[in-house]
Structure formats: structure tokens, C-alpha cells
Amino acid sequence: MHAIEMKDVAFSYGEGAFRLNKFNFTVEEGEFVAVLGHNGSGKSTLARLMNGILAADGGEIRVFDTLLTDDTLYDVRRQVGVVFQNPDNQTVASIVEDDIAFGAENVGTPREEIGRRIDFALGAVGMRDLRTAMVARLSGGQKQRVAIAGVLALKPRVMVLDESTAMLDPRGRREIMDVVLRLNREEKITVVLITHFMEEALLADRAVVMNRGEIVMEGTPADIFERHEELVTYNLALPRIGAICKRLQAGGMPVADTLDAEKLAEEIVRCVS
């Protein structure tokens, strides 16, 4: 089944910016898709259309076969949870468990059920010990995990992460990626990861590249990185290690393309011995 299906979607911010025109994009149930693109390529607009934060000017958006309309908006939002970039903008309560409960309470979840969902969500993001901690005293990575837990408490089937790791340090970034991978693999939650960190896109099943409101490349992450000359034209860069492979090849060392440091070392040794 399609988790998300966008058909001939049109959207525009008005003069100057890019526009989406006859935009088609499908995400399958259980899939982990990375959406890449430079700043202003339309990738965040895509995220905001998926759960109706922005309304399309034309075309159809379906979430698990439900057509997104004013009447189905709230049902769709329960299915599609979005985690944004800035951890400080996404917390409302002062205590972790209250914050996680906020969304579930808003949609009228029974009290006992909320308790169970908090347990589940805290476990899923690995924060059981911090149930009664104060949100203001958490690190950025922990706050982002609270934001994810708050979305999980609504039991969504799709999770959209809109540059959710951009403001975190490397440790926080790894924490979030571990959680996202686990949710996808174990809880079978469909994931749409919007990012410009190439290293994160490598973890996805499929990657798409956006430029000026259009999907310009699509394939497995390895396929995409293979076409590095094209990536550069969309103001994206290869992961650093991919760029080093290319430089070595250009310098006359026939290393095979790889995105793994150990593998590249092996290749170099092979070439020089």
C-alpha cells in the first residue's frame, strides 16, 4: 500500500520562490526515504504538504488511501507525525512525560492509554530514565528525542523528519538516527527523512534529490552518490569520503568507489602493493 501518494500536486509561495507543478511522489508503507536538496529546493515544503500544514493549490495527496481534505485533515495528521529542526520550538510542557502526553491528550486519548503510550514512546527513544526530568535541562539530542516521543505517542504510521538533526552535535545526531532506524525496522513506521547530511541519507532504502521544486534524481543512496557530477549541479556535495575516492581516481589511483573508510583503506593498500 502507498503510505503517501502525491499526484499532480501544485503549490506556490508566490513570486520569486520555486513552485511545485504537477508534482508526483509516492512513499510505500514501511519504506525509509531520504529527501535531499539544498536550502530552498522545496524539500521542507514537501514535508509540510504531507500532513496538511500547507495546503496544496491543486492535485491530490493521499495518506493510506485517505484523500487529504479539510474534513480528513485531523485524521491525516494522526497518521503523519512531523519532527522539525529546532528542539526548543517543539516542547510545550516543563516535564518530559507531560510534554510527550500533550499531543495524545489533545486528541482525546483515554487516560490509562496515555500512560501506556508514554511508556512505549519513552522506551522507543531510549529515555525511560528521564521520564520526570525537566525538559529545559535536557541536551539538544534529548529534546529532539522528546519531540519524537511526543509524535510517537499519537501512534503515527508515518514519521517525517524535517532536518531534525541539523541543530544537533554529532552525538545528538547519532542518537536521533539510531532511534529513527529502530522505529523503521522494529515498529515498521514509514520514515521520510529530509536532510542535507549525505551521511544520513546513506541509511535510507531510497533517496530522492529535489531542486527548485522538482524531483531531479531518484534511486538507492549508492546510485545517487554514483552520479556525483550531477549532484554537484544541484548544489549538493558527495559525502567527504566519496569525494576523496574521486580525487584519488583522478590522480591515477584506481580505487573502487566506496563510502566506507575501512574499505577505502583496503583499496589503497591494494593499489600500492
Binding site: H38, G40, S139, R171, L248, M253, A265, E266, I268, V272
Partner: protein, 301 residues
């Protein structure tokens, strides 16, 4: 301006149950002309340290002592050029004019209706005399040009209509407009796409070679440090654990990993090669790594 810190300690919310020791006896010297990196985890004390450099955080008042008695051996000391921040009376305005501070995500601090007003704000705040409109325009024009923006194109625009990378450059222009000798930036490239990152780093090198003698960046990106910095200090639990040029710093891979920090990709590759019996004596910049690796082939085709 040389920066000398000795025995610096700082505690947030002292004498309360939330007291946290952010700096613990930190001594660090940053020479004039350096492109200095500051590394460390969230909560390692690095931001607390840099906020001392332009007097946003002050040293705790020193215990009164008689004029005659000699200074205690561990007396905290902080000199930023000729400014002695150990003294209560420091001309903070003059200091802040000469030590520019760009915070994380500085574009969130843009506020004025037009780009030129936004950039001029710091200038008006920090100058000693009232500037004429011409003087202001000239300074704003130069500041925008040094960050790679065209005055005539953006001056009258709202800063909020610019792209993310442009906003950040305008915010940086608003700090360098006073021509600071020392420029401190907290995560200057965070959250930008690869192109934006490259532009910001190029901009910092341009500033370093023209207006700002010393550039200090706080960063989590080890590759950025390896490629750009003359030296880097690693903060952990309020102490400085290392202060070395990148070429030496990243040889301490095990210690850095223990501190939960990464090492640059080039250092990872060097270690992987070493385990396979190939020793590469490289300074961990990409250029040097590629040159030395290609040299391994010797005369081979």
C-alpha cells in the same frame, strides 16, 4: 590582540542546588593571527569560555587583598589584548567593538526592517561618536561587501526575504561592521547545506586575511577544524584537555573517542591504513592526504 586566560573557573547558579561548574581552572593562550578552533561536547564549557572573551560573562570578583600582598599563585587572570578583564572597571563597549561575537544561528537575531538598518545597528551601538549617514552607509557597504553581498542589491530588502545562507552572511556583516580585531563564531556553518558551509568558511578566511587578525570558531565538525585551524583546544568537563595544531591533535584518536568526540575522516583513513601496515605522515587536511596517498604509488602507473 593576544588572549591570555589563566586559572579561569566559572559556576552557573552558584550556591543553589543547580550549581554547575562550567569552567574548572582553564588556562589557554590564543596568539594574534591564529585561526583557532574550540571543540567539545555540549556542556563541556566551550561556550562559557568564549563568552568571557568579550565580557558577556565576567570573572567572579576576586577576594579583597591588601595592596602590598602578592597575588595568590592560582589567581584567575584574563587578558584580551590590552583589556584586563580581571579588573571590574573595563571599557566593555570598546572591548566589544574589537572582539566581535557571532552566536549560533545568528540569522535568528536579525530584526530590522531592512538589511542596511540591521547591519548598521551594531555600528551605531558601539561607536564613540555619532556617525553621519554617509559614514554609516560606507561602513555598511564595506561590511556587506566583505561577506560577499552586493549593497545596492540587498540594502533596502527585508532581511527575512533572504535565503538561509544570505541571512547568515548579513548577520555576520552586522558583527564585523565595527571591524573587530578578534572574531569569535559559535558554530558558524551549522545547519547550512554543503554549498552554504563552503561559502561561510571561505568568508571567514577572507575576513582572517583582511579585517580580523584572529578568528576563533567553536565547532563540532572535526573535518572543518582539520582543514582550517592553526590550533584547536578540546574542552571536556570544564577543562582544556588538548591544545594542539590539528596535525598533532588528531593523532590522539583514542583519547578523543573516549571523550565522545569524532576524528576527521582523513585521520580515520590514516588509522585504517596504519592497521594495514601503511604509515602515512599527513597533517589531516584533505589536500595533504591525497598528495601523500598518491605518492605511495611511487613510480607505478
Amino acid at each position: 590582540m593576544r588572549i591570555v586566560a589563566e586559572h579561569l573557573s566559572y559556576t552557573y547558579q552558584p550556591k543553589s542546588p543547580f550549581a554547575t561548574r562550567a569552567l574548572d581552572d582553564v588556562s589557554l593562550t590564543i596568539e594574534e593571527g591564529e585561526f583557532f578552533g574550540i571543540l567539545g561536547h555540549t556542556g563541556s564549557g566551550k561556550s562559557t569560555f568564549v563568552q568571557h572573551l568579550n565580557g558577556l560573562l565576567r570573572l567572579p570578583p576576586s577576594r579583597k587583598r591588601g595592596k602590598k600582598s602578592p597575588p595568590a599563585p592560582n589567581e584567575p587572570k584574563l587578558l584580551v589584548g590590552e583589556f584586563d578583564l580581571t579588573q571590574k572597571k573595563t571599557d566593555l563597549r570598546a572591548l566589544r567593538r574589537r572582539v566581535g561575537m557571532v552566536f549560533q544561528y545568528p540569522e535568528y537575531q536579525l530584526f530590522a526592517e531592512t538589511v542596511k538598518e540591521d547591519v548598521a545597528f551594531g555600528l551605531k551601538n558601539f561607536s564613540d561618536k555619532k556617525l553621519t549617514a554617509e559614514e554609516t552607509e560606507k561602513a555598511v557597504r564595506e561590511a556587506l561587501s566583505v561577506v560577499g553581498m552586493e549593497y545596492d542589491e540587498v540594502a533596502e530588502k527585508s532581511p527575512f526575504d533572504l535565503s538561509g545562507g544570505q541571512k547568515r552572511r548579513v548577520a555576520i556583516a552586522g558583527v564585523v561592521v565595527t571591524r573587530p580585531e578578534v572574531l569569535v563564531l559559535d558554530e558558524p556553518a551549522a545547519g547550512l547545506d554543503p554549498l552554504g558551509k563552503r561559502e561561510v568558511m571561505e568568508l571567514l578566511h577572507r575576513l582572517h586575511s583582511t579585517w580580523c587578525k584572529t578568528v576563533i570558531i567553536v565547532s563540532h565538525d572535526m573535518d572543518e577544524i582539520a582543514e582550517n585551524c592553526t590550533r584547536a583546544a578540546v574542552f571536556a568537563e570544564g577543562k582544556v584537555r588538548f591544545c594542539l595544531p590539528p596535525a598533532e591533535l588528531f593523532r590522539h584518536a583514542e583519547e578523543l573517542t573516549e571523550l565522545g568526540l569524532d576524528i576527521p575522516l582523513t585521520a580515520k583513513l590514516c588509522r585504517a591504513l596504519e592497521r594495514r601496515g601503511v604509515v602515512l605522515d599527513c597533517d589531516f587536511t584533505t589536500e595533504d592526504f591525497i598528495r601523500k596517498t598518491l605518492a605511495l604509488m611511487g613510480g607505478k602507473p
